[in-house]
Symmetry: C2
Subunit: 419 residues, 2 copies
């Protein structure tokens, strides 16, 4: 089967999504993976554990899309609605699946080393009209149904269980069945320019873009990603996309961080790896967040050595050798303190570069001279130190994020421009 467009709907089931206790990260991941094999997500719908709402969603979405992916409603404490409903919707009855049963038993006997309870065994029951998708990462099996040429897949809501099923089973099946040309993307990252100014700057480019290539703006904490997309596998289309992407790169060269779909911390990490250099941080206001961003990348131990989170002034003086008199005269949030933090961090961490932050993230701690959002960032390599003052004007979380982004960008420029 092949058609012009293949659409998918994602249905997430669970009260926790409707009362706001859980943030849905599954759908974004699923959409990315579906895009790679040429399937476009048409709609995402979140509903509660309510029989008629689930039934209606299955009806509605199967009118709009060829593929309906369902997550949630299968946990051991779910209200036993989803599985009986799927049974009735597709006309079958619940039976024990031997593979799923063995999987549940194996998890309890060999991995958790705990006795099983009735509730766990019931997870091995599936409608007899589905293809069972074994769950290698948990106890609830997945189920694949076909009806009137549409494919329905029900998976658990636990992210790593759903991901395992998607990668090992669902995506290969969909790719085989629909054989869509992939959606190809070219993405670049900019920093330090607002969305509207970026749009103004590339408005000529945008207006002459051929209709088969789409441009998207993706703003995020002081950065904007620009993405060109097209659908197809021909060499001609690829070349066309490349040519447009080259033109776009020229338009934004001065604010471009990288011409790939990477995060700022990945870009800085790759740069350090390339140059065989190491980095450490001394963080006051970011409280370890930049160190966390670095170390969230697998393999970061090659270039990231460590951090001194100097939240208290005593840690600034004791470990980073900041002069108490400097703190007294200029305050912790000052050029002078940031400068001494750079020196102290280089001495203690023995890295090629250090990145330091000191600021007021709010909601309290501001003053007329130094309002909430005032931040000093420093970068140094033992020969040269760069210090810069920033003023953010948001809430605590956003101020921490913006400080981290701008600090990492300062470090990136510092490494690239060895004056």
């Amino acid at each position: 089967m092949a058609s012009a467009n293949v659409y998918a709907s994602i249905i997430t089931i669970g009260d926790e999504l409707l009362i706001g206790q859980t943030i849905d990260t599954n759908s974004a991941w699923m959409a990315q993976e579906l895009n790679k094999i040429g399937i476009w997500v048409h709609r995402r719908v979140a509903i509660g554990d309510v029989w008629e709402d689930i039934w209606k969603a299955l009806d509605d979405e199967s009118r709009l899309s060829e593929i309906i992916l369902i997550t949630g409603g299968l946990g051991p404490t779910a209200d036993d609605i989803t599985k009986p409903l799927l049974c009735q919707y597709f006309g079958g009855k619940l039976v024990v699946n031997e593979d799923a049963l063995n999987n549940v038993k194996n998890i309890f006997l060999n991995i958790l080393k705990r006795p099983m309870i009735e509730r766990n065994l019931k997870q091995a029951e599936v409608p007899d009209v589905c293809t069972v998708i074994q769950n290698r990462r948990g106890t609830a099996p997945g189920m694949l149904f076909e009806k009137d040429g549409k494919v329905f897949v029900s998976m658990p809501g636990v992210p790593h269980e759903m991901k395992g099923m998607m990668i090992n089973h669902v995506l290969p099946v969909l790719q085989e069945k629909f054989q869509m040309p992939p959606i190809i993307h070219r993405t670049l990252l900019t920093a330090g320019i607002g969305e509207s100014f970026l749009a103004e700057r590339i408005s000529d480019f945008e207006s002459t873009l051929p209709s088969n290539i789409k441009l998207a703006y993706l703003p995020n904490y002081g950065m904007v990603k620009l993405r060109l997309s097209a659908r197809g596998r021909s060499e001609k289309l690829r070349a066309e996309l490349e040519a447009e992407f080259d033109m776009l790169k020229q338009k934004v060269s001065d604010v471009m961080v990288i011409d790939e779909d990477l995060t700022m911390q990945q870009v800085v990490g790759n740069l350090l790896k390339e140059k065989g250099k190491t980095v450490g941080t001394a963080e006051s206001c970011t409280g370890g967040y930049i160190a966390h961003l670095f170390t969230a990348n697998p393999g970061s131990s090659v270039y990231f050595k460590g951090s001194v989170v100097s939240y208290a002034n005593t840690v600034k003086t004791d470990i980073l050798s900041v002069d108490p008199q400097t703190l007294k005269d200029h305050g912790a949030v000052s050029k002078e303190t940031a400068s001494q933090m750079v020196k102290g961090a280089l001495k203690m961490l023995k890295t090629d570069y250090v990145l330091v932050t000191t600021g007021i993230m709010g909601p309290d701690g501001g003053s007329p001279e130094k309002p909430v959002g005032t931040v000093w960032v420093g970068v140094g390599d033992g020969h040269r130190t760069e210090l810069h003052e920033f003023h953010f004007r948001f809430d605590r979380q956003r101020n921490i994020e913006l400080t981290a982004t701008n600090a990492l960008n300062m470090l990136r420029k510092f490494i690239l421009n060895p004056h």
Copy 2:
């Protein structure tokens, strides 16, 4: 107007949600705030910047819900679909709103200190049939429409702009208009027990729960929240909920962290504040993440002094005084190293307590003796040291989260049980 149940639908507009480039955090926040004033979210729907999809979503959701909250589609680079569509849907024409225009001008002249462009000025245009909701945090105004007794609100997708409008305008208007009894919750946090075992343990309790009180399980990284909910403002109902909550607490007393809706790091922070004690961390495998969790809390400087992120062994030896011979004999991920990290961290950070982690988060770095997921956590106060080995079996991100949760819980128990 008052009725038995008031339902809301949330519609999010934007291709970025369908291609998975953005994770929707707005909906969860909105749902929580709506719940507080007695409004239940019936469905959440995400759609792209497509005229007919937006039109259909407005039609469908207004058949199901009294309140339709729309976010996104209003940015300066949006494809100019949402505002003209709302105009046509509600039968009006676009006019410049003076307040919104002054707001845009003020942001550019006084805050951004940049020249304005046409694209920015266009953001001050609104349909003449709406109530304008001024945006104090950005350039795109919100719009409130009423049609056939239903309320429609369109807001920007930028989280802190949407939140400002909701708090200052939308929620008060909805509360005034619908006057719903609030949904009251009582929540407790457990750690160290799986969802199915928790369910087994409280199955008697669950089966005798009165029908007007609902129980929900909310699992998250080694913790499960249990929440009882009821709707109403009567004293009798409150007392009934309290009594059931007390019973639930007794059933789970040994695994309960706190009988409030708090995060583990808030619980530990509050405990330290209460006792007037300070803490610091020495983090290898968690790479600053625990420090970040502490410092994300406003006011954490009272109890959190700092951290040594000793990702490289040289930082463990140089700053934390771990004996190089210990690293050679036992490895960085060992009881012996964790124990020396506790001593070194206490010496350097001069806090009442320290929390240390060293482990292998994956995907690489594992061995048959120490597979990925092996972690040593240590807690100490100078008199006593507790060390514990954990084995997680997930991906890097999840292993970091689980290590942080379990480490914080170890610290909590250590503080509470001064043997």
